[in-house]
Amino acid sequence: MVQAKVVDENTQVFENVVCPFCATLCDDITVQVKDNKVSKVNGCNLCKGVFLHAHEDWTKPMIDGKEVTYDLAVEEAAQLLARANNPLIYGLAATDVDAQKKCVELADLIGANLDNASSV
């Protein structure tokens, strides 16, 4: 974990941050965070797009458009997948390797198709 410089009570500055947008993965970004929102970032426009909007539009656990508890959403997912005949697991390109590995484990357990953006 990078050590954040504390500017004041609510503001921290992180240096040498990695930009999780394109596969250039620039590792020299400076990010200023105020009240858990990115207030300043010095990467390219795409990088700014990621960090400056990162606090917006967070998801909530939902089933059929209704907010539910986290446990219920996970349980519903497990029930659906336990009964699936030919499930598909897709994505993986915008998360880290631990999650990717878990996707493989899940696919193996339920006999799923597993694909990522390389095939598109």
Binding site: M1, V2, A4, V18, C19, P20, F21, C22, A23, T24, L25, C26, N36, G43, C44, V50, A54, H55, E56, D57, W58, T59, P61, I63, D64, Y70, V74, E76, A77, A78, L80, L81, A82, A84, P87, L88, Y90, G91, L92, A93, A94, T95, D96, V97, D98, A99, Q100, K101, K102, L106, L109, I110, G111, N113, L114, D115, N116, A117, S118, S119
Partner: protein, 320 residues
């Protein structure tokens, strides 16, 4: 990816590109818009050990179907007719191997331009051809990349020469690497028989969805509703789709179940693979109340195991 399996290719890190390459070709790739800092950090203006003057020490060529914003950063722009990449690379291979075809133009490019380009590639201290989606997503698809890798192989007889894909999403390389390491195959894998089978065209996402085969989908950190062809993505609306994503997307809009997760590289640490296959540790700068995505995935895995063992027990009871 398929092209790579067919031909293989020499590799190098972006650091080596920065330090050594004196010829850079962007083919069907528009880094000024898709990878804006690639040029300044590695392939264009960056100063390196053998490129002490940065940009002045490199010759940069852009080959594309239109004058993209990247062209103004190049020394040379070659305009190619759409869908002619395979043909052009085939002719470049002919030229490289001493056969000059009897024609003036190939794929909208004057033959002499290609002869000069091949000559430049042969003479380079280190040449790097970065190719983008302009190649892999047009007519010919992986055959185009195969032709590129073969051209690269021909060039290695004369100079250090690399052909590297400009990968898009920040950890698409990681997804291929993890799948290879775990299943033996980089994508389009099916576990239906209890062991991994690989068959692009059969188990690849667009083909599966077009044939409307999946009955449940799990989407992890991706936006298929936006990125896949409409006819394929539409099937996701007709089946229960489970989405794990930190933020609302067009795909969460059609989801039956949404599971919020931390945002890798923003609200949680994690490892991702750069386009040159170098693993990079990402940091967290924000706090999020949700768990990292591998945690709900683990819970789902354990829960399914439990549901199955309970089912077995009740079945067993009935049989007795």
């Amino acid at each position: 990816m398929v092209a790579l399996q067919l031909g293989g290719a020499p590799a190098a890190t972006l650091g080596e590109v920065k330090n050594r390459a004196d010829l850079i070709i962007f083919w069907g790739s528009n880094p000024a818009e898709s990878h804006p800092r690639h040029f300044t950090r590695y392939s264009g203006t960056a100063k390196g050990r053998m490129n002490p003057n940065g940009r002045k020490d490199r010759h940069v060529v852009v080959v594309d179907i239109r004058k993209t914003p990247s062209v103004k950063y190049s020394d040379e722009f070659i305009q190619i007719k759409p869908g002619n990449d395979y043909e052009v690379f085939t002719v470049m291979r002919m030229i490289a191997n001493g056969h000059i075809p009897d024609t003036d133009m190939v794929g909208g490019i004057p033959l002499q331009t290609l002869i000069d380009l091949v000559e430049r590639c042969k003479k380079a201290r280190m040449g790097v051809l970065f190719f983008g989606q302009g190649i892999t997503e047009t007519k010919g698809k992986h055959q185009n990349s195969t032709a590129i890798y073969q051209f690269g192989k021909d060039m290695t007889k004369h100079s250090k020469f690399l052909t590297l894909p400009m990968r898009g999403h920040y950890n698409v390389v990681g997804s291929g690497n993890v799948m290879c390491w775990q299943t033996g195959y980089p994508f389009a894998v099916n576990f239906g028989k209890g062991y991994p089978r690989f068959n692009p065209g059969e188990f690849s996402v667009v083909d599966l969805l077009l044939r409307r085969e999946p009955d449940v989908a799990v989407i992890v950190a991706a936006e298929p509703i936006d990125h896949l062809p409409y006819a394929a993505a539409k099937h996701l609306e007709n089946i229960p789709t489970i989405v794990l994503d930190p933020r609302k997307t067009l795909t969460t809009k059609i989801a039956k179940v949404i599971i919020p997760v931390k945002h890798a590289g923003v609200s949680v640490e994690g490892t991702a693979y750069r386009m040159d296959h170098i693993p990079i540790k990402m940091q967290a700068v924000l706090e999020s109340p949700w768990p990292k995505d591998d945690i709900p995935l683990s819970t789902i895995i354990n829960r399914i195991k439990k549901i199955r063992s309970e089912e077995k027990k009740t079945d067993g009871g009935k049989a007795a």
